[in-house]
């Protein structure tokens, strides 16, 4: 049960994947957190704040794990990096849109994340396995919540079904992009430190595909938008996210 000694290539593979995970969750937490106070019912203000805190907690977990590997400071990474150094998928930087868009994005992401965590909880790199097992619990609650919401919207009114279907059209290629292999990750996969995302993609398509089919939703036939391809929304997002921290570059702490 002790950590294997890591080769340089393995350590780099871990760092690469941790960077994508942390950045995805940071940005998603940021987006979702912005709903608080503006949700359709008070109960959802609470639920979304909860999801946002969980995602932020996961981001912190990945950054802390990264700290143990390369000594980097989590806050420094979150609040002082330039856009070009972020490694998230563009799905998490898109603005919130309407409720259907927010819920569907969250559902598609939750399903990806839950499957990734499930696989990662069997990683031979024990600290990763522990962190993943803990995060998985919360992620499955999200998945349940967002699966129910997509169901409600799909089977609710013609208006809600239409909005959900539009959201699916827009989100699908971004969601597929979550499964694009990371160059440099292979040594981690070969050593059973990291899950193989191409295998996860099949499970995800079955899980998500079955749910959508039951709700009579058909995803568009489009190519994945890979990580690294960004939208014009990233600049303003980071300007907001890092605004206070950057106004006080000399601050020793907050």
């Amino acid at each position: 049960m002790s950590d294997p000694a890591l080769s340089v290539a393995q350590r780099n593979a871990l760092l690469l994947r941790l960077a994508t995970l942390a950045d995805d969750e940071l940005l998603l937490a940021h987006r979702v957190g912005a709903w608080t106070g503006h949700a359709p019912i008070l109960e959802e203000d609470i639920a979304l704040a909860n999801i946002a805190q969980d995602e932020l907690g996961h981001a912190t977990g990945w950054l802390e794990l990264r700290r143990t590997l390369d000594g980097s400071d989590p806050d420094q990474l979150a609040f002082s990096r330039d856009a070009s150094a972020f490694r998230h998928s563009a799905i998490t930087e898109l603005p919130n849109g309407d409720w259907a868009f927010t819920m569907l994005r969250q559902y598609l992401f939750d399903a990806w994340e839950a499957l990734w965590l499930d696989a990662a909880s069997r990683s031979h790199y024990t600290p990763l396995a522990q962190t993943a097992a803990l995060a998985l619990r919360e992620e499955r609650f999200h998945l349940e919540h967002t699966a129910l919401w997509t169901e409600r919207l799909a089977l609710g009114t013609p208006e809600s079904a239409r909005r959900l279907s539009n959201a699916l059209e827009e989100l699908w290629p971004y969601a597929l992009g979550l499964f694009e292999p990371l160059p440099g990750e292979q040594p981690g996969i070969d050593a059973d430190l990291l899950p193989d995302v191409t295998v996860l993609k099949e499970r995800w398509l079955m899980l998500v595909g079955g749910h959508l089919q039951r709700l009579q939703l058909t995803p568009p036939d489009t190519a994945p938008i890979p990580r690294g391809q960004h939208t014009p929304h990233l600049g303003p997002l980071l300007a907001e996210f890092q605004r206070v921290a950057r106004e006080h570059p000399d601050a020793a702490g907050w």
Binding site: T36, L42, R152, W254
Partner: protein, 318 residues
């Protein structure tokens, strides 16, 4: 000021006397119990106003969730604003025990008929405002809520106990932020002092008009709803917060502030014209806050319709 309570048609002085005797004995009034219509009316007014304050109160701080400058602060702020939503929920439930409905209460808020604490109509201009609100506004609220935790209506009293215990965390977190910034860089210190300059007087005013100008107090006191006067609560607030603010190295924007012979801190004259202007919406963000809530409500209409349609499909039939 202990004027007799209004006796509604269908109520007898004997009923009132028995009711007031219960309160004298320190008993809690529970939802099924007999109570004067006026007692019910006053409570619904107060509790729903309190609930609305929590809901609108999400907005000024909520704006900063996307700008919090560290992971820990972002997490803490999300949790805090979430708590406010939760407090709104508790309080709406407490008002429902008196026969009010959530829908009617929300309508009253959105149409501008119902009030909420005007403290939330002040803008949050910098990140330090989040800390200052936690320290001063939550600090003042806790003084008020601790008093209300002793009130005669059971569900309100219990909601207050729960809310107070959560607010205590917010208060400590806010204070800790400001104390940190007051000891921080020049920019942080300045931000903290500026926030204090803007929030000091509103925080004092949020505890309500001076006793001499407080119209409902007599009967509320008699019925055990209000156990302390506005000025008494304000004095407690001052005596706790003034020394702590000074110790943090901040200056309080009141040249006449001083300690009296008994050691109580006494403030200079309050500009009540500003208070009433904000209450009436002539100054501050009343219009914007309501517009934000109305927008959220309107944007959510199709979602609530979808929820009902879905619920109807899956609801049991007789």
């Amino acid at each position: 000021m202990t004027e007799a309570a209004r006796i509604h048609p269908g109520e007898t002085p004997e009923q009132h006397a028995a009711f007031e005797a219960r309160i004298q004995r320190g008993e809690k009034i529970e939802p099924g119990d007999w109570m004067p219509a006026e007692y019910r009316r006053q409570l619904i007014r107060m509790i729903s106003q309190h609930a609305h304050s929590e809901v609108v109160g999400m907005l000024p701080e909520g704006e900063w969730i996307t700008r919090a400058p560290s992971l820990r602060r972002k997490l803490i702020l999300m949790a805090k604003v979430q708590d406010e939503a939760g407090h709104g929920q508790y309080l709406y439930h407490a008002a429902e025990t008196l026969g009010a409905t959530r829908e009617a209460m929300l309508d009253a808020l959105l149409s501008g008929q119902a009030k909420y604490s005007s403290i939330f109509n002040y803008p949050t201009r910098s990140w330090a405002d989040v800390g200052m609100i936690g320290w001063l506004v939550d600090g003042a609220a806790i003084k008020n809520q601790t008093m209300l935790a002793g009130c005669s209506y059971g569900p309100y009293s219990r909601a207050m106990v729960r809310i107070c215990s959560e607010e205590t965390f917010h208060h400590k977190q806010g204070k800790e932020m400001i104390v940190t910034y007051a000891r921080g860089t020049a920019g942080q210190r300045q931000m903290a002092q500026d926030a204090l300059n803007r929030w000091w007087w509103p925080a004092l005013m949020m505890l309500g008009p001076h006793d001499a100008d407080s119209p409902n107090s007599g009967v509320l006191t008699r019925w055990g709803i209000k156990l302390k006067s506005n000025d008494e609560v304000r004095q407690q607030f001052l005596d706790e917060h003034v020394p702590e603010l000074l110790e943090a190295g901040l200056s309080i924007p009141d040249p006449l502030l001083h300690q009296d012979e008994q050691g109580h801190w006494r403030h200079g004259p309050i500009d009540w014209s500003e208070f009433w202007a904000v209450v009436k919406g002539e100054r501050g963000l009343n219009r914007e806050r309501l517009a934000t809530r109305q927008q959220a409500h309107q944007d959510g209409a199709w979602v609530r319709e979808a929820m009902s349609a879905y619920a109807a499909r899956t609801a049991p039939t007789a």
